[in-house]
Amino acid sequence: MLLCRRVLGILYLAVALAAPDSALAQSPSGSATLLLDGSERSIPTASSATGGASAAAPLFALEPLAEAVGILDRGAPGTEARTLRLADGSQVVLEPGSATITVGAEILTLSEPARVEGAHLFVPFDFLQRVLGEVGGLAVRWDGVKQQLVLERGGAAPRSIRVEQVSLQDTTTVVLEAAEPMPYRIVRSASTIEIVFPAQRVVFERSPVLDDPRVVRIEALADRLRLLLAPSVGADDYSLKDPFRIVLDVHAVVAATEPTAPAVPAARRPGVRTIVLDPGHGGTETGAIGSRATQEKDLTLGLAQLVKSKLESRVAARVVLTRSEDQTLALSDRSSIANQYKADLFVSIHLNSSRGSTAFGAETYFLSVQASDERAAAAAAAENASPARDPNAGPADEAAAELELLLWDLAQTRHLARSQRLASLIQEELNTALGLRDRGVKQAPFRVLMGAAMPAVLVEFGFLSNPDEEARLADATYRGQLADALVAAIARFKAELEGHASALAPPPEPMPAPQPLPEDLR
């Protein structure tokens, strides 16, 4: 029905056609067959100025096309500009000799200008795609072999786009997911942002929208999704592959201020005000165990407490631990704690192990969310293309779980660049201060990082499986140096983010006494 209304809307279009007399001396260069509603008719064509193969689409005479699809020709004598007035009051304006057209408030650039030859105004094929397809909901196709222009009312099956929305901290993320990549463009105005799918029939599947402070309303139109934004709100957009997703991160924007105006930002300034440290493992989950029975969970707790103490004395930020005792804590709860505190930084502290006892050195990870090789990517693409769901899982539960994972993925995806930067700084500090073997910055699908809606890294300070490194880790001075290196890296990161030289509050000070470790580590 919606499509029918859009097509009927075309009937209300007003076309102002005014060809200059001087142009009438020329004649069209050919013709093509127009197929519409099962009937054929001839339509004048003109050669495309861009040249190309004979199968490439020519330019098409607008007037017979307008007549065929029911566009009224009211004309506008005395001007070359042509105006198509839409039923909703918006206009399509094109001008011979210009590749720029306007569709409502949008400004589009065609592949080549419309031009007048003989009695006709000729328009390029992408004009038909964008106006007849996008506005009219027609499927527009060019058959270069048969030299046929095919217009189908509702002939093309609509493509389904799933729309999900979630609010995390200071950002609302809207995700549009399709089974395969689709051309789209983003159209912005002061209070709206539209995701337009030109010349495509789309059906939006939407979940119930919760009250949101940034997105006032979401409107699903025939060819686009329109987000009505709250005042002082903007959106960043990007796309992801496998599955194809268009992501909009809607957030408050910093109001532009006059040079003399007081610097009162409309949004939260970037900075590091709250840091969450996560001592890895705990409780029944021991983590790695060294040859001297050192348990990773104990070392991580001691190191995290030490780093917290140093950070609080040297960096102007609140520091929170996900656990302060030997307790079992789910991985997803750890990042949830960081989110609840609206942390600006999340650092998970670990010690490594490898069954090859020779491995040693520190490494820092940030999250990997992409399929990491060609076959995996191909498999993911094939999987995404499959309409069938896994029948072994409850459809609703599985879909909900997938959505949750997808959105949490995206929460961290937004921060990957900063996470990578923080990881690099930590590696630099560890290498410089301690001369550790640089195992580098790496990516891995660490569960604890996935839900973190802020820059997040996981630090492996060394290998408990290496007897020498295990012995060093048992030394309080060495642990203090590790903590200092991490504090220095966080301070550098904070300074970079906040745009000043150093975030270390006081000058270097004597190292505080290390926190006592559990007895079994002494």
């Binding site: 990773e296 490898s354 498999a379 993911a380 891995a444």
Partner: protein
């Protein structure tokens, strides 16, 4: 019962026999599957990926006798992987004894490997965990093309992570990131 009736009864019996077996298989697992229902086997080469002391996965080629159904093939391959490498320099995926309870392949290409071991997965560092998980994932995914994604279960339950690092709450796809060149 005349001859025609006997033939009908025989046909009915043969037709229902597989259903009878199927319905009873969970209630009482037969000591040995009837020969007529055992899929034919053949010997094929496979590449198994074992953790090495260098923190990488190393390929080891094996010739295994497998049957055609993908899940059965996966079970045989994973059982060989869990049994450990022939190369003494390499390591089995788990330091402790772990067995494969079952491999189940969904029509959409997700294979579920139900690992059976101690009540909780063994503690280990992230390097060990990465190698353990991807020795399983890579081995099954690269050898059983029908298995495009791998879900790991521990004693029948899908954990959010085996040892507190790598995400196992979702299907995993193979990675050559740590496969030795």
């Amino acid at each position: 019962m005349n001859a025609q009736g006997s033939r009908r009864a025989l046909v009915l019996l043969l037709a229902l026999a597989p259903f009878g077996f199927w319905s009873c298989r969970d209630a009482e697992k037969p000591a040995a599957e009837p020969a007529a229902l055992t899929a034919p086997t053949r010997e094929l080469p496979f590449t198994l990926y074992f953790p090495g002391p260098d923190g990488l996965l190393h390929a080891e080629t094996r010739t295994l006798e497998v049957s055609d159904p993908p899940a059965a093939r996966a079970e045989r391959i994973i059982a060989a992987l869990l049994a450990g490498p022939e190369d003494g320099a390499l390591l089995p995926p788990f330091a402790d004894k772990v067995e494969l309870g079952a491999a189940t392949l969904s029509p959409t290409g997700t294979i579920y490997l139900d690992l059976r071991g101690s009540p909780n997965p063994p503690g280990m560092g992230s390097t060990d965990e990465f190698l353990t998980i991807y020795s399983l994932v890579d081995t099954v995914a690269w050898n059983v093309p029908e298995a495009r994604r791998v879900v790991l279960l521990w004693n029948g339950v899908q954990p959010e992570s085996l040892a507190g690092h790598i995400d196992t709450a979702r299907p995993l796809t193979p990675s050559k990131e740590r496969v030795a060149p």
